[in-house]
Symmetry: C2
């Protein structure tokens, strides 16, 4: 009997940042690492988020998925879990304690917002760094890594063809906020045992040096707390628990109480405190509804919206539209974050508006109030030297990051042919003597928009793009079936094209064009629609140099 | 008789980057500094560019505008010139030689593309650093500054209330490509004579240190030219002539010939060579149509599109849609530029696509192939120490930059109350003993979209935003006037909302809703339109959690 074939398939995270999901299959047995979402680009109009394309898994009905193992609790690694469960209700989930709690929050929200139809409440199996377990034919060794959220894991997966090591998102933080350091010894041990294939985070591969430890933020917070005359608001990602811990520590030190604004962050903080991942004494916390009972210089408020999201707390404050918070003179607002590429404009606009409202703003180009959660080049080199893999597949990054990671691999002594740069959906075949690029499975973006999953595609997005650029104009006409003449004045509906109240002249021209088109083609039954659309479209372009979508509705009466 | 009042009014450039334009008026006499455009933010759908709001100038019919003086030839300083001339046909223009040539190109293009109706071909008066001239009551002293384009000027303007100094865009480049250094002596002399008010560039006020000289790019180019095995393409702004000079110098040194792709850049290069601002020998240049006659390793191609613009050369190459150029293996592409905030996503996507097509990419996070054209904090401090102004108005920057510039001013010893941070349209009153913030004149964004100037406003943009997010749906119905019943099946047109071919079920529900709405309100003559729109809108939201624009057209027959 032929030996079962081993294949690694990244469905997401390779060639773009986000929706991380990797399949590892041995014959008919498979496991999955992470099931994340991706946030839409600026030109993916109206899309809420993007999930990996599961079609391949749906088609492989023979495949037994023994479980999904999670590296950590960020959205781009866990966000699609409800959609996965909807498609594969019986797949068991495995995650560290904090990650499991965050996954449970996702389920609760998915039920609340009716996002996915999940048959039964899934139970997430808790796994621990250093405690190995088996899933089907795979023996899995979770090990501790550090990132910008506690309780991160990497995985070593034992296969008949050798050891596969997956880093998850990581940086080598020698001084993490929770004191739990990366397991260098384990990585070195893997290296000694021999690693066939390393899948490693590439996010910061274009950045020289070593990413600062999370704890380097402490002095910057200290400075802000010393200088602030009024309230302090600190904006960061809802899930960035270590930052909340640091803010709480600074609050304690400087005699301030801390409040949490924003539903999700409050939920996360509560869970993290319950399971012991956040150490904030009860008396330090103050309910967001009661902050007015505290003097401004005795108060810190944690807020969401550090990416400029208009619907989050900071966005509402910038627009003066928050329900019970507002900006006052002497407020100091710290953006403890860095704009995700594509969000810069929104972030800086939010900063400018907050300044307009009288706040002092502190953000990462001014003070060291944020550090990245991902390894830079020196850490990547260290990883390669510890693990000494035979083959390297750079993951987690745009193509440009994967390519830079490859250069680092070559420098570290891995033969160029042993470094495989692939984009999402490319099968990586692992055999006794080689690892190589295989076919690419069909697949694409699955857009989630409102309640719809995958019901809009590129075509709808393209229409939205055109509508966004030039709007539309619709002419509705009643035509006498026999004479082909207008029975009444054409009805015109248009939005996003021109300011209609000042466009009387143009609208008259449209009506005239419709009339003369009909007059010239009085016997054109059935073709009137096209003829009107063509002539009106031409008119509008000639007059305005814009190309709104033009439709006509012709009633032949 | 009361002394004429002196007022400075920034119409653009204060509180945002771009469309720089400043009015200086003494009683009824005025001059204007720069008339630039601004590029639209990502959410200003369909807008080509934005010009300053001239309404104030139109309303001040008593005002005699003695001239527009230009600091340099970048779009954000000259781009609106055709629109200004359209509004004020007789205003004389004053600019340095290169700037004047670039303004003439703008006129030619405005005529070619019918952008503005200009009555007669304007003549731009050439001015020179060090040669003073008078405009109305103002004696103007142009002085040399350095930036990322040659032939830049700053202006000192003598007024009855003291000297006003305007830096224009600047950095202190001690080793500029053309050898023409900033006039430190003149700035010091102004300081000695006494400067009442300094208007100074704030763009990089959040960046510590000193911006590198343009010439620091030379070694980076040298390295690229040494290592490149095939063709080299260098992408930069069409107007960045010094970069073209550096590329040509490197080409000469390394035995390559240079071609220019892109209409605008070719035009600029031609002009700059003609008037002696570019030193590229004829035999070094090769026509873009003849590049196939040269071996790849003997060729450099200058291209436009470094901001990821899909319509520029690099964007077309990335999409594989350029008319006669394509990407080949071993091509090295240098992005000699930095993404303008808001463009990051587009730039990195372009880079990734070019890598997909097999090119090696070199960009500014990897090699020192670009430097900013704007002063950083140390240069700003030097400027303040040279000029020693009594009052400072930070210009050219978002609000956050102006605020940081203010901090530098305070550090330099200017009293806090003497530093006036204003946003566009705020009148700055200059008197014998004070400079203070006055009223804000009404005004806003004037959007240029196709041939329309100011014919779309916030309302149209808001509609485009809604259309971009969820599209629209229109129901057209024929109703019996008497019975209120449907005469035929409703006609539905929808785009950007949902993939219609797979939405039969939803469309049936729409038809059913229309029918039952009409049945329930059979006597609702005149209100049917609203009733249908409301009930269909509700249905669509409940089913999809999306809010497309819903319209109905009701024919009562």
């Amino acid at each position: 009997m032929a030996k079962a074939k081993l294949r690694v398939i990244p469905l997401g995270g390779c060639g773009e940042i986000g929706k991380n999901m990797t399949i590892i299959e041995l014959g008919d047995d498979a496991i999955i690492i992470d099931t994340g979402i991706m946030f839409p680009a600026n030109d993916m109009h109206g899309v809420d988020y993007i999930i990996p394309d599961f079609q391949y898994l749906r088609d492989r009905k023979d495949l037994k998925i023994h479980g999904v193992i999670y590296t950590h609790g960020h959205e781009d690694h866990i966000g699609a879990v409800a959609h996965v469960l909807e498609a594969f209700p019986d797949v068991p989930l495995y995650a560290s304690k904090l990650t499991a709690s965050l996954i449970n929050v996702k389920f609760a929200n998915a039920r609340r917002f009716n996002e996915a139809r999940i048959e039964h409440d899934p139970e997430v199996n808790i796994i621990y760094a250093g405690t190995n377990f088996n899933l089907g034919p795979f023996k899995i060794e979770p090990f501790r890594m550090t990132h910008s959220i506690p309780d991160c894991l990497g995985f070593a997966i034992n296969t008949p063809y050798g050891l596969i090591v997956h880093t998850g998102d990581y940086k080598f933080d020698n001084n993490p906020v929770d004191g739990k350091r990366p397991d260098y010894a384990k990585l070195a041990e893997f290296g000694k045992r021999g690693v066939k294939l390393l899948l490693a985070d590439s996010t910061n591969s274009d950045k020289p040096g070593w990413t600062e430890s999370e704890s380097t933020i402490e002095p910057a917070f200290d400075k802000v707390f010393k200088e602030a005359k009024g309230r302090i608001m600190i904006a960061t990602f809802a899930s960035l628990m270590s930052r909340v811990q640091q803010a709480a520590d600074a609050a304690k030190k400087h005699g301030r109480r801390i409040a949490i604004a924003g539903h999700t962050m409050r939920e996360y903080v509560q869970i993290a405190r319950e399971i012991g991942y956040l150490d904030i004494p009860e008396e330090l916390l103050i309910d967001i509804g009661k902050i007015n009972s505290v003097e401004p210089h005795k108060l810190v408020i944690m807020v969401t919206g550090s990416q400029g999201e208009p619907a989050a707390v900071l966005g509402k404050l910038a627009a003066g539209r928050h329900r019970y918070l507002d900006i006052r003179k002497n407020d100091t607002i710290v953006l403890s974050s860095h704009p995700i590429p594509g969000n810069e404009e929104l972030v800086y606009r939010t900063i400018n508006r907050l300044i307009q409202r009288g706040a002092n703003l502190v953000y990462d180009s001014l003070e060291n109030v944020h550090v990245s959660g991902h390894a830079r080049q020196e850490e990547m080199r260290l990883l390669l030297n510890l693990v000494q893999p035979l083959f390297l597949v750079p993951v987690h990054g745009e193509l440009r990051h994967l390519v830079e990671h490859k250069k680092l691999g070559i420098e570290a002594g891995i033969p160029e042919n042993n470094i495989i740069v692939v984009e999402n959906g490319t099968i990586i075949e692992v055999d006794t003597h080689y690892v190589r690029k295989g076919e690419r499975i069909p697949g694409g973006y699955v857009f989630v928009d409102g309640r719809g999953v995958g019901d809009i595609g590129r075509a709808v997005i393209r229409d939205r793009e055109i509508l966004a650029r030039d709007g539309f104009l619709i002419v509705s006409v009643n035509v006498d079936k026999k004479t082909g003449k207008l029975v009444s004045q054409p009805d015109i509906v248009s939005r996003g094209f021109i300011y209609l109240r000042e466009a009387d002249n143009l609208l008259d021209q449209v009506r005239y064009t419709v009339e003369s088109t009909l007059a010239e083609n009085f016997s054109a039954n059935g073709r009137r629609r096209d003829l009107i659309e063509e002539s009106v479209g031409k008119l509008l372009y000639n007059e305005t140099r814009r190309r709104p979508m033009v439709f006509s509705i012709v009633n032949e009466v």
